[in-house]
Symmetry: C2
Subunit: 245 residues, 2 copies
């Protein structure tokens, strides 16, 4: 599967994925750009059933967690680098928000490279955005130390489904030339028109008794109340992990 | 160039890169995973010389900014989606830290996909980590509105150099199985031994009059003082852009 044909795979064959393959794909993925070549990431590989059971509720029991042979949690990591500095009598000043941002960036570039390589190798992946919804639970379960933070979880396995590719916005609505020219109301409406017209989205609106698709997002899927509560949880977890000094 | 052979390219031929090519690569890159298919990103394309001149000092006058035919600033963007919600009488609760994190994640996955595709198309790229060092300057220059934030800048052009690939850590030092087993002091020392042994790194230590390579990082390249000042600047910019309600 190439980047152009990529789709999220949520159902996997009951077949193991060779550990050597995963490690080799991760090694190649680490060719991604990294801040000052510090490689500010780790990845925790979950194969044990009891560990999957512990992770599943943190990801809202999405069936991919129990159904995938391998779960990879991508962790922004300034712990390893900081320990090297400490052992070298060097004052490591990485217990701050900028350093978290740099580590998160390194981690996500590495993670996306892994996904591309996994798909080229015939594997299917699903990106679980829930990792940052309940980071403290993931931290406790995976025993993540100070100056580390989970930023992405990927379920991996051989595909047992072949869904249609979802819609995307017209790239002209993503690209701004020279400066970010504001959208007119009409341009905004037009950008999301196709998405609103899709039968499955019309169905979501009806099932949820909403006026339109935007309200399905704001009132059902990603609500202000949830976002604000989870923002607070994430900031608290960042502080406990030592990133908000 | 494949992911395995990837290297940062900082010198470009004095040849333009076709706008249609860039837009087509960005369209394909948008196949990356995205939170709820919201596509929480925009990209500002810089080709104008005067705009490059305005961006250059924000990126510490690294020569790639003036030397590349195209600069792409990848912007975490909840503005477009929020405006769609507002026009749809939907209460968009995305003015918070979790929503910024989600948008930053979407943006970096999209950005890494673009880099891979650009390299496959024979282009060279350089990831400028400086984007988050002075985000307010980038915001002002590119006129980024509320609920947007610049998270990555990529310089793009046809390669005019062919540098050696840099070192990477052994992947065994990146992967943790089931839980994050702590490194012993000896394991940490071993992980960074090869990096410390490289002639160019030994030279950095000598030139800077430091005891070892870690001190070059902590005392010269990424200092506590700079990181703390830039953390504060980033938080202030996030607040001004409406992401810390």
């Amino acid at each position: 599967m190439t980047i152009k044909e990529r789709k999220t795979i949520r159902k996997y064959k009951a077949v193991d994925v060779d550990k050597t393959l995963i490690h080799s794909l991760l090694a190649t993925a680490s060719r991604a750009a990294t801040m000052g070549n510090m490689q500010l990431y780790s990845v925790v590989e979950t194969r044990d059933e009891s560990m999957k059971k512990a992770l599943a509720p943190l990801h809202f029991n999405q069936p991919m967690v129990m159904g995938a042979p391998v779960i990879l949690t991508f962790v922004a990591d300034f712990n390893r680098f900081t320990r090297w500095c400490e052992l070298s009598d060097a004052d490591a000043g990485y217990d701050n928000f900028l350093s978290f941002t740099n580590a998160m960036t390194d981690t996500l570039l590495f993670c996306q490279n892994f996904c591309t390589l996994a798909e080229e190798a015939g594997l299917g992946t699903c990106f679980l955005g829930t990792t940052v919804y309940n980071p403290q639970g993931v931290i406790d379960t995976l025993k993540l130390p100070r100056l580390t933070f989970p930023v992405a979880t990927i379920t991996v396995g051989y595909p047992d489904e072949d869904p249609a590719q979802p819609d995307r916005l017209d790239i002209a609505d993503i690209i701004r030339e020279e400066t970010y020219q504001a959208f007119s109301d009409e341009a905004i409406r037009k950008a999301y028109e196709y998405k609103e017209s899709l039968p499955e989205n019309k169905q979501f609106v009806e099932i949820n008794g909403k006026k339109n698709l935007a309200q399905v997002f704001t009132d059902c899927r990603y609500t202000r109340r949830d976002n604000e509560a989870m923002s607070q949880g994430m900031v608290e977890a960042l502080r406990r992990q030592g990133f908000l000094k």
